[in-house]
């Protein structure tokens, strides 16, 4: 590993590379290269976040399910901390404990929006959108524990709705990509001893952000996203992939320095510096590579894209490349 320019301090390169991996631009800021640090941070994080926004925060996740593998995650992962939670979330999502429930361990109280399906006198279903607060708790029934509770809210017209709820009860798994957690319970009437079902309440309660961020998408979620966003979803993926790939360049820059040197060597080329032991000639180039690639310091500098003309018979000053 060689420092391409004496003006440049890479400090501890492996630490800088690690920081650059974790947070794009951070490695360069640690090295005191603030312009590049800011540029990498804005460009790479900006691209990544733009992709996340376009894809409703559902483009970064890791899945090895057959037919739903996301190998693109390996490029997204190179953005570092913003993408690494996906690995933890995949483990949480695949945990056997992450399953739907039909019984509660403790009281559940949350905002709810969904559909109230009530049976009318002629046994036809009547559907109404409702939103409000749902409250459910486990109780001891005649034949074991049951779930009971209430819903208090309003319908579409703003009329107050109060419902008594009981089993059968169903609640979606706690960790999944969707913003809402599906909930279903029967609407009942009557007293404690004799409850009769008069309909059903179906809808969603909010899922905590920590339980849906970078969680693998189910097949239905994926189809829903593709259906609604179409090509924007694909573009969102491309944005996040490219952000990760660009950070590889930034990590390498933090570790090794800029590939072609400081960049202003073109101004020094007017008065070339002669490498010790090399023949003193105005045309001391001979290398096909850029200044930093020779690894000699001080080096003969030239414009990175304007290679000096070297006659075929001229001896090279860089034997390893000549």
């Amino acid at each position: 590993m060689q420092n391409p320019d004496q003006r440049l301090s890479l400090k501890t390169p492996w630490l800088a590379a690690l920081l650059a991996f974790l947070v794009p631009g951070m490695g360069h800021i640690y090295q005191g290269r603030f312009f590049k640090g800011a540029l990498y941070a804005v460009c790479i994080l900006g691209t990544f976040l733009m992709g996340m926004c376009m894809g409703e925060n559902k483009v970064v996740y890791f899945s090895r399910e057959p037919g739903q593998s996301t190998y693109g995650y390996f490029s997204q992962m190179m953005v570092g901390l913003p993408a690494l939670p996906a690995l933890v979330q995949t483990r949480r999502y695949q945990d056997p404990d992450n399953a739907g429930v039909s019984m509660l361990d403790s009281e559940l109280s949350a905002s709810f929006r969904g559909v109230m399906i009530s049976r009318t006198a002629n046994d036809r279903a009547k559907k109404e959108m409702v939103s409000g607060q749902i409250s459910l708790r486990p109780e001891q029934g005649d034949f074991g524990p049951v779930v009971r509770g209430t819903f208090v809210g309003t319908d579409e017209q703003g009329n107050a709705v109060t419902l008594q709820l009981s089993e059968p009860f169903d609640l979606d798994k706690p960790i999944a990509a969707g913003e809402g957690r599906y909930l279903e319970a029967d609407i009942v009437m009557g007293d404690e001893k004799r409850l009769s079902s008069v309909g059903k309440l179906e809808g969603v309660i909010p899922r905590a952000w920590i339980n849906r961020f970078e969680v693998p998408l189910g097949k239905e979620d994926l189809e829903d996203l593709n259906g609604r966003l179409g090509k924007y979803y694909e573009l969102a993926l491309v944005y996040t992939w490219i952000a990760g790939l660009l950070n590889i360049l930034a990590i390498w820059d933090a570790f090794e320095g800029p590939a072609y040197g400081y960049g202003d060597e073109v101004t020094q080329a007017v008065q070339p510096v002669v490498v010790a032991g090399a023949p003193s000639s105005p045309s001391t180039g001979g290398s096909d590579s850029h200044p930093s690639a020779t690894g000699t310091s001080p080096r003969v500098a030239h414009a990175p894209d304007k290679k000096p003309h070297v006659p075929p018979s001229h001896p090279s000053t860089t034997p390893e490349l000549g």
Partner: protein, 73 residues
């Protein structure tokens, strides 16, 4: 609903073409690539501008070829 998707669905941008979303990508790629090659800020910006123009020039050329090939189709 995605932010960009929402914006693109607004009446003002009813004819928004997603191809425009490639331009910010070209800017970012030009800047980051050039920054990984050089250290001097002026040189980075100069080279990034050149690379951006090369990328967009190439894209425009491909667009014109496709436009020509699809003429009267």
């Amino acid at each position: 609903m995605g932010l960009v998707f929402q914006i693109s669905q607004s009446p003002l941008l009813a004819n928004f073409n997603t191809t425009w979303l490639l331009l910010p990508l070209a800017v970012v790629i030009s800047l980051v690539y050039s920054a990984s090659r050089f250290e001097n800020a002026t040189i980075i910006l100069h080279r990034a501008t050149r690379l951006f123009l090369q990328i967009t020039g190439l894209m425009t050329a491909v667009f014109l070829v496709l436009l020509l090939l699809s003429y009267n189709l």
